[in-house]
Symmetry: C2
């Protein structure tokens, strides 16, 4: 669909932009629905972000913004309203402007991750999940796991204060949650999540000791720059059930589309139209 | 060409955006050259513009900005360097970021207009031109007419101060120019230009008394929202030689492409690829 003066924009905010996948997933779907909205990449350095967001939302043809690394945590402080999920996550990956001009932030990373593993057969009851990385996406996944009834979470981050702060936000909303801090041993967990950027760059260390993964464990990844990260490859060698970063992306898009008031697709419909391979 | 994380942007700034033509001219040409750059419309209200421009230029994947109504005059005060043409015009329709981070503004409306009428056979020597409307585009056309050697200009604007200010800027650079102020009678002129927005809305009055147009006069129009404005229709009925707003657009784009460091097209090549009819 041709870009014209009637085209409305969804700004895809992040830096660097080269690994962005969303334009190639949203745009073909929206074009197929005859919706004249385009997701366009906008590379914003961290030091420019806080000034950019309020001015971006003065645009008259902006539908909203997708927010990706490294801006998700900062975004939570730049909007006037946070949804409950975004508040627990302490991060946003979507912003829209309300009729009164105020900005609302929401967070779909966690929902996308959880929808994906539920579709793959993960059962939350009595599960214990290990979340490595307690930044924006790790916090969101932890919040969504608690929301679907996972009773026990282990949180690890190289910055201990991040793990502690996430634990406090979780316990405020889920006071009976069993939270263990600062262990990154996968043993004893039925779900293990890499929510760090490790795996984006060649030569990155693994986020945890994959020799201690048991067969059948659900192993999820948030890195999307390569489909099969070394972490996921190691998990597959140990007969774990794996979920790729791109799986999470497709699973969260229906919620994004609903948030922006656009025609909602199933993950399968999105895959059929997408201009990227998974 | 698919929008991806590698796509660079040219922001097309104006308000309202609905009549924008540039995306449908630039984007097919750039795609045909395998250049991953997209012109995208960004609607900016006047009160938001001064804050938006500096933050826009913090984007890492921005090539530059096209500036259209109502922002061209304001832009001249928002950049660190003006080209000579932009300085005389007192307005900019293009902005790029230099390596040192500073912004340079240039103005191609006048060059586009003048290239177009020169291609149609207009001879500048001994010509007298009437420019109705002394805002950004009218000033630019006057500057470019003086630059190609038109010796006599008549300037008219409903705000007399605008016409006077333009006359002073012209005379500073072209001290021998014969400038007449505040007459909008086309008689005695070999070139007559509507550089006002009159013609954009149904029911607009004509910019001047078309009954006084002589056959053979060159008559140019800057309004692009309709191909044949009532003003141009009246001029054709009087056997004038006419130039449409969209003619000017195609003629100025080669200079824009050069300014942004992109592959340069001739107006004919642009027309072959364009996704709009003229």
């Amino acid at each position: 669909m041709t870009i014209s003066g009637n085209t409305r924009l969804i700004a895809h905010l992040g830096w660097p932009t080269e690994n962005f996948k969303a334009p190639m997933i949203y745009n073909p779907w929206l074009a197929a629905q005859n919706v004249d909205v385009k997701v366009v990449p906008m590379g914003v350095r961290p030091e420019a972000f806080a000034a950019f967001v309020p001015t971006l939302f003065t645009l008259t043809n902006l539908v909203g913004a997708l927010v990706t690394m490294p801006h998700k945590v900062v975004t939570a402080g730049l909007v006037q309203q946070l949804t409950p999920t975004a508040a627990i996550a302490g991060a946003c990956n979507a912003i829209r402007r309300e009729e009164d001009g105020s900005l609302t932030g929401d967070m779909f990373d966690g929902d996308g991750f959880v929808q994906g593993i539920l579709h793959k057969g993960f059962i939350p009851d009595n599960a214990r999940a290990l979340v490595v990385g307690c930044g924006g996406v790790g916090s969101a996944i932890a919040a969504s796991l608690a929301a679907v009834g996972v009773p026990a979470l282990t949180l690890f981050d190289t910055r201990e204060s991040s793990a502690q702060a996430l634990a406090m936000r979780l316990l405020r909303h889920y006071p009976t949650l069993d939270v263990t801090l600062m262990k990154n041993d996968p043993q004893g967990h039925s779900l293990v999540v890499n929510a760090t950027p490790l795996g984006m760059s060649p030569g990155d260390p693994l986020p945890l000791d994959t020799d201690r993964l048991r067969p059948g464990t659900f192993v999820g990844e948030v890195v999307m720059s390569q489909t099969w990260t070394p972490f996921l490859q190691a998990a597959m060698e140990r007969d774990c059930q794996v979920q790729r970063g791109t799986d999470m992306l497709f699973e969260m898009i229906p919620a994004y589309l609903r948030f922006f008031g656009l025609p909602v697709a199933t993950p399968e419909q999105l895959r059929q139209h997408a201009e990227i391979k998974e």
